[in-house]
């Protein structure tokens, strides 16, 4: 087995006495698509920043594979209007590429028409594509995307995730992304990490989806979102009292979680009854 591209060990960080990362250990293997999901304020962006070396930690360490090339697409790109910047020039931001290469990569992400536009004039979706194109030009070993589908409409989102998967296939780079779009992401990812200050659960999308902690974090919204795609599955596995009990045992120290679980437990059978009736 080859060494992971990036590995975080026991990452712990708190801001003003409040824990943001609580003993987080995580690693990304070559060529895998890993998606971080979790509620707002769960520290997903912070975790990514720590892994990238943008943020230091109170304890723990980050090991990067030597010579690792990262392509980073941040959550937002706020280029001041006072700084004139065409897309053509922006693609050369951290290193130089020929014009042909730049046009090719824009073609690939479906944004060739903005080559000569000012960055500030782009729509949300175009900005995301251009940022992705720029990151790709680096031929990265690891592509890091912080909510890549932000400001992109729903059809665009599905297309964007498809594109990310295609890129991984073609370039063989690993992808680490943060996402809110649960059901869209699930289909296009190898490993899901459900994160809320600590790694709640991780694994294949199928496994994570059935994990009680995942359900307690995302509640019915998530169950619904997935229900669209896996309706029968949900009902057979997830509404069993055993799973809920099992979780209460494993994660007894998270009081709020187990509290939520009982709710899920009591209300779920009612829903089933309703369906049956």
């Amino acid at each position: 087995m080859t060494a992971p591209l990036i590995e975080g060990q026991g990452l712990t960080l708190s801001f003003g006495g409040e824990a943001v990362l609580d003993d987080v250990s995580l690693s990304i293997a070559k060529g895998e698509i890993m998606t971080l999901i979790g509620p707002n304020g769960a520290g997903k962006s912070t975790l990514v920043k720590v892994l990238l070396g943008l943020q230091s930690v109170n304890a723990g360490r980050v090991i990067r594979k030597p010579g690792l090339r990262v392509g980073y697409v941040p959550q937002k790109l706020a280029i001041d209007r006072v700084l004139p910047m065409t897309v053509k020039r922006f693609l050369n931001l951290t290193h130089h590429c020929s014009l042909a290469e730049r046009i090719e990569v824009l073609d690939h992400v479906g944004a060739r028409h903005v080559l000569n536009s000012q960055i500030g004039d782009l729509s949300g979706g175009e900005t995301q594509r251009v940022m992705l194109a720029r990151a790709l030009l680096r031929k990265p070993d690891l592509l890091v995307l912080d909510e890549p589908a932000q400001g992109v409409d729903v059809t665009g989102q599905a297309e964007l995730y498809r594109l990310i998967e295609t890129i991984r296939k073609e370039q063989g780079c690993a992808v680490l992304m943060i996402s809110h779009d649960l059901h869209l992401v699930m289909a296009k990812t190898d490993r899901v990490v459900c994160f809320n200050r600590h790694v709640c659960c991780s694994g294949l999308p199928e496994t994570v989806r059935q994990h009680p902690e995942y359900r307690s974090l995302f509640g019915y919204r998530a169950a619904d979102a997935i229900g669209i795609y896996h309706h029968e599955h949900d009902h057979e596995h997830d509404i069993s009292g055993q799973v809920v009990d099992g979780c209460g045992h494993d994660h007894g120290h998270h009081h709020d979680h187990s509290h939520n679980h009982t709710h899920a437990h009591t209300s779920a059978p009612r829903a089933k009854e309703h369906l049956n009736g």
Binding site: K49, L52, G53, L54, V70, G71, Y72, P74, L77, I79, D80, V82, L83, P84, M85, T86, R89, F90, N92, L93, T94, H95, H96, Q118, R138, V144
Partner: protein, 269 residues
């Protein structure tokens, strides 16, 4: 042409060429107040130079560099807003400079010359300093152009992709200090910021890339210097302020022309 006039023009043009690219970064990185603060600290350098018997120019460059270093360290740790830190340093160094100058015995100092510059009094040593010092600063800026610009556009992308962000920040501040220390002889403590930011602002109207804006700023600066010296020569106005007024006039004309130029560019597409 009188040789002092020729020296003034040469010095002014050289300075404008240096200030162009530096000024664009000042504007992009919102460091106008930072430049102002360094300039204010230079007056302390005049006093230091006179008191310790070293060249006044060297004294100014040294205090500018010291102030930049102080800010590079201080801003990172401070709980105060950076404008507060800058304001405190600017005015306390200016006051300290004035007080220190009061202790300098037996030398008649033309404070006005330091506050508003004295471009017509440029000598050959000044020109050499400007050519070599300013030239070196511009070469260094060109060498670090791409990473510094990446840092300006997005510190996060730059850092994630291996740009040595902290080092660049400090080096840029020191280069800035060098340029301001050299420039004060010509346009003075109170006007140097204008020569840095006004041509850059004018160039913004007509540029589509950062590089175009930097070159444009240099050209607008040269035009302002030439117009200012012309004004000073024919109407007998003080040279430094005349240059700044010319720069401001060029900005107003640019802002009026900008929509027309944009329309023409659009039509020609």
């Amino acid at each position: 042409m009188d040789s002092f006039l020729l020296r003034a023009i040469t010095g002014g043009v050289l300075l404008a060429l240096v200030c162009g690219p530096f000024g664009t970064f000042i504007v992009w990185r919102r460091m106008a107040f930072f430049g102002d603060t360094l300039a204010h600290s230079a007056l302390l350098g005049v006093a230091v130079g006179l008191l310790f018997g070293i060249d006044v120019r060297l004294g100014m460059i040294m205090t500018c560099l010291m102030a930049a270093l102080l800010l590079a360290v201080g801003q990172r740790q401070s709980k105060l807003g950076s404008d507060t830190v800058l304001g405190m340093l600017a005015h306390s160094t200016l006051a300290l400079g004035m007080v220190a100058l009061a202790f300098v015995q037996g030398v008649a100092i033309d404070i006005m010359a330091y506050l508003f510059g004295d471009i017509l009094a440029i000598n050959t040593t000044d020109l050499w300093l400007l050519g070599l010092g300013g030239g070196a600063a511009v070469l260094a800026l060109v060498a670090m152009w791409r990473p510094l610009l990446a840092l300006t556009v997005s510190p996060e992308i730059a850092l994630a992709e291996g740009v040595p962000v902290e080092r660049l920040r400090v080096v840029f501040m020191l280069l800035m200090a060098l340029v301001i220390g050299i420039a004060i002889k010509i346009v003075g403590v109170l006007l140097i910021t204008a020569l840095l930011i006004v041509p850059a602002a004018s160039a913004r109207f007509f540029s589509r890339t950062p590089e175009q804006m930097a070159l444009g700023a240099a050209l607008f600066g040269v035009a302002a210097v030439l117009a200012g010296i012309y004004l000073s020569w024919h109407v007998d106005t003080p040279a430094g302020p005349s240059i700044v007024i010319s720069a401001a006039g060029l900005f107003l004309v640019s802002s009026a022309l900008a929509p027309i130029v944009r329309r023409l560019a659009y039509l020609s597409k």
